[in-house]
């Protein structure tokens, strides 16, 4: 178990790169997760075939700990669930809004 690590490719203390497989995660979920980190980090996304790579650079030049990336991974799972639920059932929200404003659309 000691050898199991998050797939982090550390470039420099205040920069790191992490990659995700588009077969597992949607582009929308990845970008939505990135947005949450744009307060503390400059973030660049690039895509090659089925892999999205994300480059983090801390704005205050401090070192990035592995915990940040682990949290990013967990947040990405949440974001993917939101994306999937919205994909499957989001149309119901449209129906609710349409129904709600029916009286003024008559």
């Amino acid at each position: 178990m000691a050898n199991l690590e998050f797939p982090i490719n550390v470039i420099d203390g205040n920069k790191l790169k992490i990659s995700f497989d588009l077969k597992l995660y949607s582009k929308e979920a990845i970008t939505a997760t990135c947005y949450k980190y744009t307060g503390k980090y400059y973030i660049h996304e690039s895509c090659e075939e089925n892999t999205v790579s994300i480059l983090f650079e801390s704005k205050d030049k401090s070192d990035i700990s592995q915990t940040v990336v682990k949290e990013f991974c967990n947040n990405l799972i949440d974001q993917e669930i939101r994306h999937n639920i919205n994909k499957d059932f989001g149309y119901i929200r449209d129906l609710i809004v349409e129904e709600a404003f029916k009286p003024v659309n008559k």
Binding site: A32, Y37, D78, R82, F89, I96, E99, A100
Partner: protein, 476 residues
């Protein structure tokens, strides 16, 4: 095993290490253990279990026909958004920029008492009243702001009487409120305000030393707090009703760590509510930020301590309300709409409230007027002496601002679990972050509002019956 049920639209987030919080568009909420959440979203939650029934009762999932649940949710959604139905009802009017205070966090470039260059003319006042009544709302509240409007009381009287005259024909539900530091009010003025049903809103920052530090009078020989206390009594004696005057507090850095004293002072002076309000970043407050401002995290900690203290006071038998918590609790616990202009979706700027400056300029919000003092006219809708109501309130600018202030589709808000209880403040976003949309990960208002809602949710989840009873008493 997979169960047949339809998941209805909801938002979620981790509430603690062990639980998720789920909310839906109409404000229903439920806490789920991590394992239950995973079962729920993978359709492995028994649709005959008590937990599923709870989810169904909150309209977060259903085994019924979706169309029937949609109808029910739509009715609730329409109620939540009913604030939109009437359009602008709060009209803030600035009769003068003259003021006798020199508050350390003042947002307005106030004028000296003797400087009449920023007094409203009768022509402008008449056009403002015309513009207000050209709007469609059946409810009209005219709120006098300043400067201190009591300095130009003749203009306040002119506007009240002009509005009452016009209303003889328009027949709206008309009300007035004057925002004043109270120090210049005389018994005759109070009798006039009472006769014309003009409520009084004032400012109280706490005990004497703090109030006088935050809100000194320009005439240093005068004791602001002493005059304030004397005049509160005078107003109540004339009115015969302790609730005729309400007070607002602003937190400067000198207020931090002193919320218990501030709350005690409100109670000592006979107030039964307080709105623990953080400093806003406009006007002088941002120019002299280092002198009066503080990190938002410090405000949040103070707010929590203040709220706990207020709950304890209620438990000991004194009815006393924290206004911001009461507003949020109403959104969390009831299906009803709440008319708080600063926290609506879409934002209340322009479409719920607007401000008319002494020269007739119309801004979407008071903070838009503050920006104009620094030569930034982005939030100016027009001028009552030059533009019609339609041009200003149905123009491109207001449409653009409102389109960009629906939290249902703003980045960082759209999937936020607290979205149903929150709102957008495009003027603050623009002022602090450079555009009306704003950047949520670094947005102090977002950090503050989320932290406070989270704290209230913790209280609700703890379920102390006494606390819950107190919360309900605040929103009745």
């Amino acid at each position: 095993m997979k169960y047949e049920y339809t998941i209805l639209p909801f938002r979620f987030d981790h509430f603690s290490n062990e639980e998720y919080l789920l909310t839906n568009d109409v404000g229903e909420y439920i806490f789920l253990k991590n394992a239950d959440f995973e079962k729920f979203v993978t359709h492995e939650l028994d649709s005959k279990s008590d937990l599923f029934y709870d989810l169904a009762s909150k309209q977060i999932a259903t085994t019924d026909k979706v169309e029937d649940v949609v109808k029910m949710l739509a009715t609730k959604f329409r109620t939540k958004k009913s604030i939109l139905r009437d359009f602008t009802s709060l009209h803030m009017v600035v009769p003068t920029l003259r003021c006798n205070s020199s508050c350390i966090y003042c947002q307005v470039k106030r004028h000296e008492k003797s400087d009449h260059s920023a007094d409203m003319t009768k022509k402008t006042a008449k056009n403002i009243v015309k513009c207000i009544f050209d709007g469609p709302s059946p409810y009209i509240k005219i709120e006098f702001q300043g400067g201190d409007p009591s300095i130009d009381f003749e203009m306040v009287k002119y506007i009240i009487e002009e509005a009452e005259w016009v209303n003889l024909f328009k027949k709206r539900d008309l009300s007035f409120v004057i925002c004043t530091n109270l120090t210049l009010l005389t018994p005759d003025m109070v009798k006039y305000l009472k006769k014309h049903k003009c409520d009084i809103s004032t400012s109280l920052d706490g005990p004497k030393d703090l109030h006088d530090t935050n809100r000194p009078l320009q005439d240093k020989k005068l004791d602001h707090h002493e005059i304030f206390e004397k005049n509160v009594k005078m107003v109540r004696d004339i009115w015969g009703d302790a609730d005729c005057v309400s007070a607002l507090m602003t937190t400067s850095k000198y207020s931090l760590g002193r919320y218990k004293e501030i709350i005690d002072e409100y109670i000592r002076l006979g107030f039964n509510n307080i709105f623990l309000r953080s400093l806003n970043p406009y006007g002088f407050a941002s120019e002299y930020k280092e002198k009066v401002a503080y990190p938002i995290e410090e405000f949040i900690e103070n707010f929590k301590e203040g709220l706990d203290y207020i709950i304890e006071i209620n438990k000991k038998g004194t009815f006393f309300v924290e206004g911001f918590a009461a507003l949020l609790l109403k959104r969390i616990l009831t299906p009803f709409a709440t008319g708080f202009v600063d926290l609506q979706s879409p934002a209340g700027v322009g479409i719920a409230g607007a401000i008319y400056d002494y020269d007739g300029s119309v801004y979407v919000a008071d903070e838009g007027r503050m920006l104009a003092r620094f030569k930034n006219y982005y939030f100016k809708l027009g001028n009552v002496n030059e533009n019609t109501f339609q041009e200003m309130f149905n123009g491109k600018l207001l449409h653009e601002i409102i389109e960009n202030s629906c939290t249902e589709c703003l980045p960082g808000c759209a999937d936020c679990v607290f979205q149903p209880y929150c709102g957008a403040d495009p003027v603050r976003n623009y002022s602090v972050q450079g555009d009306v949309v704003g950047h949520r990960p670094t947005n102090e208002m977002c950090i503050k509002t989320k932290a406070i809602i989270h704290y209230l949710m913790e209280k609700l989840h703890e379920g102390d019956p006494e606390t819950i009873k107190i919360f309900w008493s605040w929103i009745k």
